[in-house]
Structure formats: structure tokens, C-alpha cells
């Protein structure tokens, strides 16, 4: 449905409709996509980007992580974790469940990562070994973004698993 009222807004709305993207978005919102594989791929890409950042730190590696983050946002918006309008109790429960599982995984990654970094720092002080630790702003941004990617993708996976198969006669009025 295109916007009516302001001629410029109408033209822009018609242009957007012509791309087909709003129609696709409406379809996804009426029936959320249950993502199975994409979050795993995005998690793998994020792990790869962190590995590159550790091995060859630099600003360009930040964009290696930004790419899966952008796709994560799209998957998040079209999956069961994001519903437009008022949520009913089932949808709210699915979102709560997704966030709980995602947060727990992000917490586990943060705790294990912090312990590893602390262990590495102790080893470095005793001149036993050297392990990577975040040093500058880019490193901390990478760590933060990595945790966000973990939380969002695990949440999408958990919510997708908790969402039942679509109904065959879903269009029944």
C-alpha cells in the first residue's frame, strides 16, 4: 500500500514499492523466516574476522566483522525475533526465549574470553607466553561487535527453533 498525501512522499513510496523490497518485508513480517543455516554462517564469519583481527590487527579487519553484522541485522529483522505491531503472548515468549539463550551464550563467550585474556596477561608478566589482548579502541570495538553478533545470531537460532512450522491453511480468514 503506497502512502497518500504528500506528492513527494507518494513518489518515493511508489519508487520503494517498485523495488519489491517492501512487499518482501511485509511477507516476512506476516510469516517470520525461521533461519537455520544463515546464523551459523554469520557466526563462523564473525569468528574468522576476530581471528584475522588477532593475527593482523588493523582498521580493515573491522569491516570484516561489520559485513556479517549488517547481514545479522537483516536476518534479525525478518526472523521471529522482530515483529511489527503489538506482540501477543506467544510471540513475546519466543522473543524472550531467543534473547535469554543469546545472552547466555554471549555471557559464556565474554566470561571465557576474559579468563583467557587474564590468563594470557599473567603468562606474559611471568614471561611464559604471550596471548592476544585488546589494546586500542578498534580491538574493543571488535570485541563488542563480536559479542553482539553472537547474541543476535544465537537468539535468531533459538527463536527459529522455538517457532512452529507454518500452518498449511494459514491464510484462512
Amino acid at each position: 500500500m503506497t502512502y497518500k498525501g504528500d506528492p513527494i512522499a507518494e513518489k518515493l513510496d511508489r519508487l520503494a514499492e517498485a523495488t519489491g523490497f517492501p512487499r518482501l518485508q511485509r511477507k516476512f513480517h506476516s510469516q517470520p523466516v525461521r533461519f537455520r543455516l544463515l546464523p551459523w554462517i554469520l557466526l563462523a564469519l564473525a569468528v574468522g574476522a576476530m581471528a584475522v583481527q588477532i593475527a593482523r590487527p588493523g582498521l580493515w579487519t573491522f569491516w570484516l566483522l561489520m559485513a556479517p553484522w549488517f547481514v545479522t541485522i537483516m536476518a534479525y529483522g525478518n526472523g521471529p525475533m522482530w515483529r511489527s505491531g503489538k506482540l501477543d503472548e506467544r510471540e513475546a515468549a519466543v522473543i524472550r526465549h531467543g534473547h535469554f539463550v543469546g545472552m547466555m551464550w554471549a555471557l559464556a563467550v565474554a566470561v571465557l574470553g576474559s579468563l583467557t585474556i587474564a590468563f594470557g596477561q599473567m603468562g606474559a608478566m611471568l614471561r611464559l607466553w604471550t596471548l592476544w589482548a585488546p589494546r586500542d579502541g578498534i580491538d574493543w570495538m571488535m570485541v563488542t561487535l563480536f559479542l553482539l553478533v553472537v547474541e543476535a545470531n544465537v537468539a535468531v537460532l533459538a527463536a527459529s527453533a522455538a517457532t512452529p512450522e507454518p500452518l498449511d491453511d494459514d491464510d484462512e480468514e
Partner: protein
């Protein structure tokens, strides 16, 4: 793990002649949720169960049960035997 709750919303809905969407609007949920309830994919909250029962003017235990409901033909047959 929550116990499975059986229901006969579909039977009552068919008898009342109302669509999933109409029932969903009356109880304030998404029509998909009514579909998932009917299919047994989702256990409702007490509030939702009571709201659905109120729409059909029946006690909640007539709509929801921990045990599977007997087929309608069986229920009618038993009812006939009792008379």
C-alpha cells in the same frame, strides 16, 4: 519441560462458525497463535485459555485438558447411551 495440553478449540470454533482471525481478534492474539494452539504447538497462558473459554461460554476444562479428548462421535455415542 511443560506438559502437553490438549484442546478442542477447532471443534468449538467450527461449531460457532467463526474464523481463526475472528477468534484471534476477540482474545487479542495473532491468528497464527490460534492456529498453533489448535495444532497443539503452543500451550496457552491461563489468561488466554480463560479468554478463549469465555468466547465460547464454556468452562475452561471443556476446552483444555492434559488428556486427549475422545473423538466427537464417541462423546455423542456415550451421551446417547446415558440417556
Amino acid at each position: 519441560m511443560a506438559r502437553h495440553i490438549y484442546n478442542r478449540i477447532a471443534v468449538f470454533r467450527a461449531e460457532a462458525g467463526i474464523s481463526r482471525k475472528a477468534l484471534a481478534d476477540k482474545v487479542g492474539v495473532n491468528p497464527q497463535t490460534i492456529g498453533f494452539l489448535e495444532r497443539g504447538d503452543y500451550n496457552p497462558s491461563l489468561e488466554l485459555a480463560l479468554n478463549i473459554a469465555a468466547v465460547f461460554h464454556v468452562p475452561v476444562e471443556l476446552l483444555f485438558s492434559f488428556r486427549p479428548f475422545p473423538p466427537m462421535a464417541q462423546t455423542l455415542l456415550n451421551h446417547g447411551d446415558g440417556e
